[in-house]
Amino acid sequence: MTIDFWGLGLQAINVVILVWLLTRVFWRPVAAAIAKRHEAAQAILGDAAATKTKAEAALAELSEARDGIASERTRVLAQATASAEAAKAAALAEAKTQAAALMTSARATIAHETDAVRAKRVAQSGALAVEIAQKLLGRLPDEAIQVRFLDLLVEAIAALPASDRAALAKTKGGLDLLSPADLSASAKVKITKAVQQALEAVPELNFVTDPDLIAGFELRSAHFVLRNSWQADLAAILKELQHVS
Amino acid sequence: MDYISITSIVCAAFAVSFGAIGPALAEGRAVAAAMDAIARQPEAANTISRTLFVGLAMIETTAIYCLVISLLLLFANPLLA
């Protein structure tokens, strides 16, 4: 076995040249193409990552804004609730005061009206009483009544204290004797006699007609009145009634 | 033909035949072990088969040595020169 060293060297040189040529022509360009495409893909990936980051940032911002809106809404809502509560309380208080005022005034009005009604009723009942008395009186004979009231007058004069009676008797200008209707002459004489007898003096009597008396006689001087009539009685009753209510 | 030539031819055949037995058995064992490994771990089949090929080539080398020796005996016998 012999090895041809020329051939060996030639083949080694051949392979070295082949390695060099193929490295230049084949391996490097293809590897560069792969690397370039890899870089391009990396760049695209980087772009995509950047876009994703941006989108995520936008999303975060958006969610933050949404949170802000939510808190704002809560705040506004709370504010509105508070103001509504305040308005409600104010309205309630106002309504209460108004109602109280109204009630007070209504109460006053009611009291007033009640008073007015009662006054009216009292007046009505007074008038009614007068009417009743007049009606009732109309059915009785005048003389009897006159006699009876004359008696009463005499009794009243007699009941007066002596000083008063004396003062009455000494009244200047005479005494006015009021009667509901015109008296006949005989009646006048009779009355004068009875009064003079009661007063134990002779004062002058002026007969005056006053239909308001209804029935009875009244003796009047400048500063003295001796009431002896239904009018006076009714007035007393009316006064009583007004007092009572 | 003298004895040296006859002995050379016989020894060449002897070298190739016995030189083939050992590698044959060894390659059988190696392939069987590799199959076992691939069956156990199919995901490692790539690495295993690469290693198997390299190993088979190694084992085969001994048979190739025997072949070269026999060829030397037949064609480049220094004793016959």
Binding site: M1, T2, I3, D4, W6, G7, L8, G9, L10, Q11, A12, N14, V15, V16, I17, L18, V19, L21, L22, T23, V25, F26, W27, R28, P29, V30, A31, A32, A33, I34, K36, R37, A40 | T47, R50, T51, F53, V54, G55, L56, A57, M58, E60, T61, I64, Y65, L67, V68, L71, L72, F75, A76
Partner: protein, 235 residues
């Protein structure tokens, strides 16, 4: 029958005998370079099918280098890839009638093995400096220095004999069978020869890568790959 260990010179250029293997090598070189030039003339960002195929080839090579050595493939891609492509083309050139593969001759395989031996030194020195390369002989410990020195020669010699033996035996067997029964009978053997050629090209490139990377790693004092060291022991 012609001895497969001998090769006859076709003609002489000065003192240099030109054999058929050298001529075939030149033809293969021309075809490879021109083909590569034509194929890589228009490389674009948007690859055509042709470019995808080329990139697949380069990417597979890168993956193999990375898985075998664990190193970045860029410095080794040209040498390892060219070894593989050239040996594959040379092995498969036996398909052309009348052509004998250059790798079936002693000189070509020896030249390839010498190139691997030189490249181991080259890459070892380039990776770690001369000191780093010399230190790689002391791995894992200085006792191994003589054995490592011996191994650095014998592993290359074994590559040489392996490639030569495989290709030559395939060609030899086909020649014998063809001389016995010429028609159709050698076809299965030729198919087997194709497979053997592919596997041998692959193994030659992978072993070259393993030797280079183990030297670089030993020089750099990094823990060597288990697989790598196992392969080294086998060779």
């Amino acid at each position: 029958m012609n001895s497969p260990l001998e090769s006859a010179a076709l003609f002489q250029i000065g003192p240099v005998p030109i054999t058929q293997a050298i001529v075939t090598t030149w033809v293969i070189m021309a075809v490879l370079v021109v083909g590569a030039y034509l194929l890589t003339r228009r490389l674009s960002l948007r690859p055509s099918k042709r470019q995808v195929a080329l990139e697949l080839l380069v990417d597979t090579l890168d993956t193999q280098i990375r898985e075998t050595s664990g190193a970045q493939p860029a410095p080794y891609r040209g040498f390892i890839g060219t070894l593989f492509v050239f040996i594959l083309a040379a092995n498969w050139s036996s398909l052309i009638p009348g052509v004998e593969p250059p790798t079936a001759k002693l000189e070509t395989d020896a030249a390839l093995a010498v190139l691997v031996f030189i490249s181991v030194i080259w890459f070892g020195v380039r990776g770690n400096g001369v000191g780093g390369y010399l230190k790689s002989f002391a791995a894992p410990n200085p006792v191994m220095i003589p054995l490592n020195m011996l191994a650095s020669v014998t592993r290359v010699f074994s590559m040489f004999v392996r490639l030569f033996g495989n290709v030559m035996s395939g060609v030899f067997v086909i020649a014998i069978v063809a001389s016995l029964a010429g028609l159709l009978v050698p076809i299965p053997l030729m198919a087997l020869d194709l497979l053997t050629g592919l596997v041998q090209a692959y193994i030659f490139a992978v072993l070259a890568m393993v030797f280079i990377s183990s030297t670089v790693e030993d020089g750099a004092h990094t823990p060597a790959d288990l697989e790598t060291s196992a392969k080294k022991k086998d060779s």
